[in-house]
């Protein structure tokens, strides 16, 4: 039994794009240990993406590889949550520039890894055995990612006035994007039906509890997750994804057909 390809791409794209974003901190982190930690998380995510793309490619056939899927699809073909493609700062148009904000990075890693921990856990019993195996491996990595992010949410939330202000603003910016976790795309519905995927409704309560508990411990006020519900996983992204892809794919597309 194989999961729907779009479902695998959704999982793979999430991992790749967030991996790409986290790697942007390399050489620019607030302290050397964090450069290393974020590179480590990014490496795990890229590793997850590779396994998922390889699996999807083997189902697709026709010369598809992990690299054709990562480098030769356009933004509307990407199936990641909008959350993971946002830049490391508050809301701004795609053409704007702003310094990277570590609070934004940490808040996103927290919200995403708390979600993925539960999702990987459940996906261990996917009827797609290969996906179940990838889930088991990813689960271990995600435990570390969540611990890292959670520790920093608490440290920065319950740190200085400045750090608290920044963490609070980051959650206010990002929490609305998590609404997308709970909407069902056609490929998710199909995966749930055929037993290869997970109905995210089943993990929502645990996720909400984790968020509540962590924000409480971090002395932060949990903002409402209201307003526009993003639709990245059906290919309707923010203006930011095409910039991420323009950079990420530039070299591969300059040399179509080359081997590296």
């Amino acid at each position: 039994m194989k999961a729907p390809v779009e479902y695998l791409l959704h999982l793979a794209d999430n991992a790749l794009i967030l991996g790409q974003r986290n790697a942007e901190w390399t050489g620019h982190g607030p302290v050397l240990e964090e450069d290393i930690a974020l590179a480590n998380i990014s490496l795990d995510l890229i590793g997850q993406a590779r396994l998922l793309y390889q699996h999807a490619a083997s189902i697709l056939g026709n010369g598809a590889t992990e690299d054709t899927l990562a480098y030769f699809r356009d933004s509307h073909e990407f199936r990641n949550h909008t959350l993971v493609e946002l830049p490391h700062h508050g809301p701004l148009a795609g053409t704007a520039i702003a310094d990277r904000d570590y609070a934004t990075t940490i808040a996103r890693n927290f919200l995403y890894s708390a979600f993925m921990l539960l999702l990987w856990e459940a996906l261990q019993s996917s009827k797609d055995e290969q996906l179940a195996a990838i889930a088991a491996k990813s689960l271990k990595e995600t435990r570390y990612h969540l611990r890292h992010a959670r520790d920093w949410v608490i440290r920065l939330g319950d740190g200085t006035a400045e750090s608290q202000r920044r963490m609070q603003a980051a959650f206010e910016h990002l929490l609305p994007y998590t609404q997308e976790f709970w909407t069902a795309s056609p490929h998710e519905e199909q995966a749930v039906r055929d037993g290869t995927g997970v109905d995210t409704a089943s993990i929502r309560e645990a996720w909400e509890a984790e968020v509540d508990e962590t924000l409480r411990e971090a002395t932060l006020v949990r903002p409402d997750a209201k307003g526009y519900v993003p639709r990245g996983k059906v290919g309707l992204h923010s203006e930011h994804l095409s910039y991420v892809l323009a950079e990420m794919q530039s070299l591969a597309r300059q040399h179509p057909g080359a081997t590296w």
């Binding site: 790697a23 590179a39 040399h255």
Partner: protein, 312 residues
């Protein structure tokens, strides 16, 4: 003094000096300078290679490069720790870097202009670094020697990865081969200069040799590097941009042309293509990370206060 005699005997017997041991102040200072310079090089060295992480042309290469740059950060950590055993704090060391007082390897003041630079840095820059560093694995100061053993192992791995990456590119399209040759042309001379000025112009070397901090002279290391590298270039199918290069059958060594030391000193003295950018990038990251470090400290203090209150 008796301490000096004991120290000298230890050096002569090729035994390790450890943090708790007495050591001459000049020895300590030389070590701090050298280790911190080495640590700073690892940290600044994250920038030129980091420049291609976001654009690596395959996921496998992206992962390899990211892991490599992460390793460099790790090397920086070991080395700062080794330096701290000599009684300086990381903040002091970083301050030296950020104010421009401490140096780092000049090679990182060149830009990485194409993806091939990443492979060439692995092959040539890491290759040269290993040549420089292997003798330090036998350095008289224990913590430094042990850090270097670990670092050299990882660097050799990086060097092989760099070579393998270039090999793949050389088997690829003409555009890829041209890119590799262009990168070799740009990096060759700066890499040869990495071994430092010629022995005749290197006055501090003698003392470092005496103390077992330095083990082989600049020119000897450079020759060793050229001899090891030219056959590798032939395997790759690239040439080095040196019209005077020739093999001397009698000595068994490759003879290379004159190095432009004016250019080397210009870069060392701040006038390379990227000196300002490298340092300003480091300073900016440090300054913009201040609130994060402050918060971590503040939180730790709060936690401690809470624990003491609970314990009371």
């Amino acid at each position: 003094s008796a301490e000096q005699v004991a120290f000298d005997e230890k050096i002569d017997a090729d035994r390790k000096v450890e943090p708790q041991d007495w050591m001459p102040e000049a020895y300590r200072k030389t070590l701090v300078r050298q280790i911190s310079q080495h640590a700073h090089s690892e940290i600044i060295g994250m920038q030129p290679e980091g420049n291609w992480i976001s654009r690596a042309p395959s996921l496998k290469r992206k992962a390899i490069l990211l892991a490599k740059v992460q390793d460099e950060g790790g090397h920086g950590l070991y080395l700062y720790s080794a330096a701290e055993t000599l009684g300086v704090s990381r903040d002091q060391l970083l301050d030296g870097l950020h104010t421009g007082k401490a140096k780092y390897s000049s090679i990182f003041n060149y830009p990485t202009l194409t993806w091939a630079d990443v492979g060439v840095i692995g092959w040539l820059v890491d290759g040269a670094a290993i040549m420089n560093q292997i003798p330090i694995c036998r350095c008289s100061y224990g913590p430094y020697a042990r850090a270097m053993i670990r670092i050299c192992k990882e660097e050799s791995f990086h060097q092989r990865q760099g070579f393998e990456s270039l090999m793949t590119q050389m088997r690829g399209t003409q555009a890829q081969r041209d890119m590799v040759q262009d990168a070799v042309n740009r990096w060759w001379w700066p890499v040869l200069a990495m071994f430092g000025p010629p022995d005749k112009d290197s006055p501090n070397s003698a003392t470092s040799m005496r103390w077992g901090i330095k083990r082989i002279s600049n020119d000897d290391l450079r020759q060793k590097f050229v001899d090891a590298t030219i056959p590798q270039a032939e395997i790759l199918g690239v040439t080095v941009p040196d019209p005077d290069l020739k093999f001397n059958e009698a000595t068994g060594h490759w003879e290379y042309g004159a190095i432009d030391w004016d250019d080397f000193w210009a870069v060392v003295n701040g006038n390379g293509p990227c000196n300002k950018e490298r340092l300003a990038t480091r300073v900016k990251a440090h300054e913009q990370g201040q609130w994060v470090r402050d918060a971590a400290l503040a939180h730790a203090r709060k936690q401690k206060a809470r624990q003491m209150k609970e314990a009371a």
